[in-house]
């Protein structure tokens, strides 16, 4: 067993390198003083600076944040309510199993299927109201549909971990309605809700497939912008943009990690 350890360690390190080399390469080229080619021509912040003068990129970034913010807020509320409803209401066993399946399904459904379904639905609904014309509204609606399941799953696992005792103790001590919810249920669920929201936010931020089908000309998000730019040719600005998006994701993950550790102590 001991003899195998160096091999295991080598495989682990090799895998990590394999995982991160592409991202690191992008980061390196984002500060390479050359418009074309793969040779190192010295350090520069030029591409990053240009990035912040490119209005199309800024608008896409703003759109991404707006869509992620609004859809996450709505999906978190709906997803939490769904988790509570599934967990607390005395559903018949069979129905409960079926509903569990329905919650899990969107998580494993290929994005492209969901995207196609959304396009179809929006086409149909457009006949009733122009709210469903492709644009910011449909983009947010599309994101909410896949975010809800993720939020619900995370909140439900927190509910399961909490057990029923605490809730019963609170009811035994005369707590009902809003008092029970705001004093006991919500504070204890908060770590799960925030973790779910964080996940939903990240998913929305880097979603491409659904956004691609559900967006309109006024609602280009970063992933869509990057995609269309790459079609015109890879530029150092895109490297810089990708690096910044990566950094933002890392920071979000670190915050989430830090937060869940803090809550675990309580």
């Amino acid at each position: 067993m001991n003899a195998k350890r160096p091999i295991v360690a080598a495989i682990a390190i090799g895998s990590l390198i394999f995982l991160y080399v592409p991202s690191l390469a992008v980061a390196v080229f984002s500060v390479n003083n050359a418009r074309y080619g793969l040779t190192w021509k010295g350090f520069t912040w030029k591409w990053h600076q240009q990035l912040f003068q490119n209005e199309a990129i800024l608008e896409a970034a703003l759109n991404s944040l707006l869509v992620a913010g609004v859809s996450t807020a709505i999906a978190t509320i709906l997803g939490t309510a769904l988790a509570l409803g599934l967990d607390r209401f005395p559903w018949p066993r069979r129905l409960s199993t079926a509903m569990d399946l329905l919650v899990h399904l969107p998580v494993v459904t290929p994005d492209i299927i969901l995207a196609a379904a959304l396009v179809l639905s929006f086409n149909f609904l457009r006949g009733f109201s122009e709210i469903f014309d492709l644009g910011m509204g449909t983009l947010i609606l599309g994101h909410i549909t896949f975010q809800i399941s993720f939020v619900t799953l995370v909140v439900r696992s927190r509910l399961a971990a909490l057990g029923r005792d605490i809730d019963e103790a609170a009811r035994d001590l005369y707590a009902t309605g809003p008092y029970l919810f705001f004093r006991i249920t919500l504070p204890l669920l908060m770590p799960g809700i925030l973790a779910g929201a964080m996940l939903a936010f990240t998913l929305s931020l880097d979603d491409f497939i659904i956004s691609f089908f559900a967006h309109g000309p006024d609602s280009v998000t970063l992933p869509i912008y990057i995609y269309s730019s790459i079609r015109r040719g890879i530029s150092p600005e895109i490297h810089a943009l990708s690096t910044l998006v990566l950094m933002a994701t890392v920071i979000l993950v670190l915050i989430a990690e830090r937060f869940s550790r803090f809550r675990a102590a309580v």
């Binding site: 035994d172 001590l173 707590a175």
Partner: protein, 345 residues
């Protein structure tokens, strides 16, 4: 007088239970796991609805009253303290839920914390408390509401044996001081004996026997109760006129059995060792198979004087200082009042 009666129809956990708990008494529901005692407690708390039957509190039907509206509080097996609230906030929770005035909350919580020797721990969170302290917080949190009934769901099971004995005595003293109705659920017969005014022995969703600990211990109604509450010798017997015949000999009983063939029970410590002429009523001859020294007593396993040593094993618990060895012949006296004829169930 607070009366609690419960009747349940075809419920797989409770098959029709009638019970009356008196105001101000320490009542225990005793039984093996799965006997329905916890379900019964949860029904009293309002956390579970019976399929049929009724629960009365002080003459009022509270069967359908939700837990939050019952003047009944529970100490949970897991304590179920609110992890995000400190000791003070935990204890104050019930009072605040009922919009009690702040000064009143402070006074009553302070009083209970003092009573439970939790002074100085007000700002601690549950994860900063020891098992014993958590339990006292759970007790204070329930008692501060001055419930008509305090329910205790195996509150001692998480404590070590030494602490448990201490807590049992404290609980008993507390109940005497407060004169409130306590209902305890436990599977530990010693615990039930120590704390209860009266207890109910439960099995398979039914109450087997209700009474004072002394009464239930010394006059068990059937074999299950006899064996669940400590060690018992169970002897097959047949009625023969005014006496009862067994393979050990014939005995007189204070209370004659209702059956022609059945079983007798006698506690190991009630059988007396002595020297008496054979043939006297309720005296038999036996020989020692094994003697186990237990410090405070001596456990002696006996076989009939005639026949193989492993033929029948009778257990006698004695304070005798005389050493007994396997093969020794002894005389045993079965007091007529301690021999109990068991029901068939």
């Amino acid at each position: 007088m607070a009366q609690v009666q419960k009747n349940f129809g075809s419920h797989k956990a409770l098959k029709g239970v009638d019970l009356e708990v008196r105001e101000g008494e320490f009542f225990t529901l005793l039984g093996p796991s799965g006997c329905g005692k916890t379900t019964l407690l949860r029904i009293i708390a309002g956390l579970e609805l019976p399929d049929s039957g009724h629960v009365f509190l002080g003459g009022r039907d509270i069967t359908r009253l939700p837990a939050a509206k019952r003047q009944v509080n529970t100490v949970f097996q897991s304590y179920a303290l609110f992890p995000h609230l400190n000791t003070f906030e935990n204890v104050a929770f019930g009072l605040k839920a009922r919009q009690t005035e702040n000064s009143e909350v402070r006074r009553r919580v302070g009083e209970k914390l003092e009573m439970m020797s939790l002074g100085g721990l007000e700002r601690r969170y549950p994860h900063q408390l020891s098992g014993g302290q958590k339990q006292r917080v759970a007790l204070a949190r329930a008692l501060v509401n001055e419930p008509d009934i305090l329910l205790l769901d195996e509150p001692m099971s998480a404590l070590d044996a030494h602490l448990r004995a201490q807590v049992q005595e404290e609980l008993r003293r507390l109940q005497r001081e407060l004169k409130q109705t306590f209902i305890l659920v436990t599977h530990d017969q010693d615990e039930a004996m120590v704390v209860s005014d009266r207890l109910a022995v439960m099995r398979d969703g039914l109450v087997e026997q209700v009474g004072e600990p002394r009464e239930v211990y010394s006059k068990p109604r059937n074999q299950f109760v006899a064996e669940f509450l400590g060690a018992a010798n169970i002897i097959a017997a047949r009625r023969d006129g005014g006496r009862v015949m067994t393979s050990l000999g014939s005995f007189d009983l204070s209370a004659a059995p209702q059956w022609d063939e059945g079983r007798l029970a006698i506690r190991p410590e009630r059988i007396l060792l002595g020297q008496a002429p054979a043939g006297d009523p309720n005296w038999i001859q036996a020989k020692v198979s094994e003697a186990i020294y237990r410090g405070q007593s001596l456990d002696v396993w006996l076989a009939p004087a005639q026949g193989p040593a492993d033929d029948y094993r009778l257990r006698v618990r004695t304070q005798s200082k005389e050493p007994l060895r396997p093969g020794d012949q002894v005389s045993l006296f079965f007091p007529p009042e301690d021999l109990v004829a068991l029901d068939h169930a």
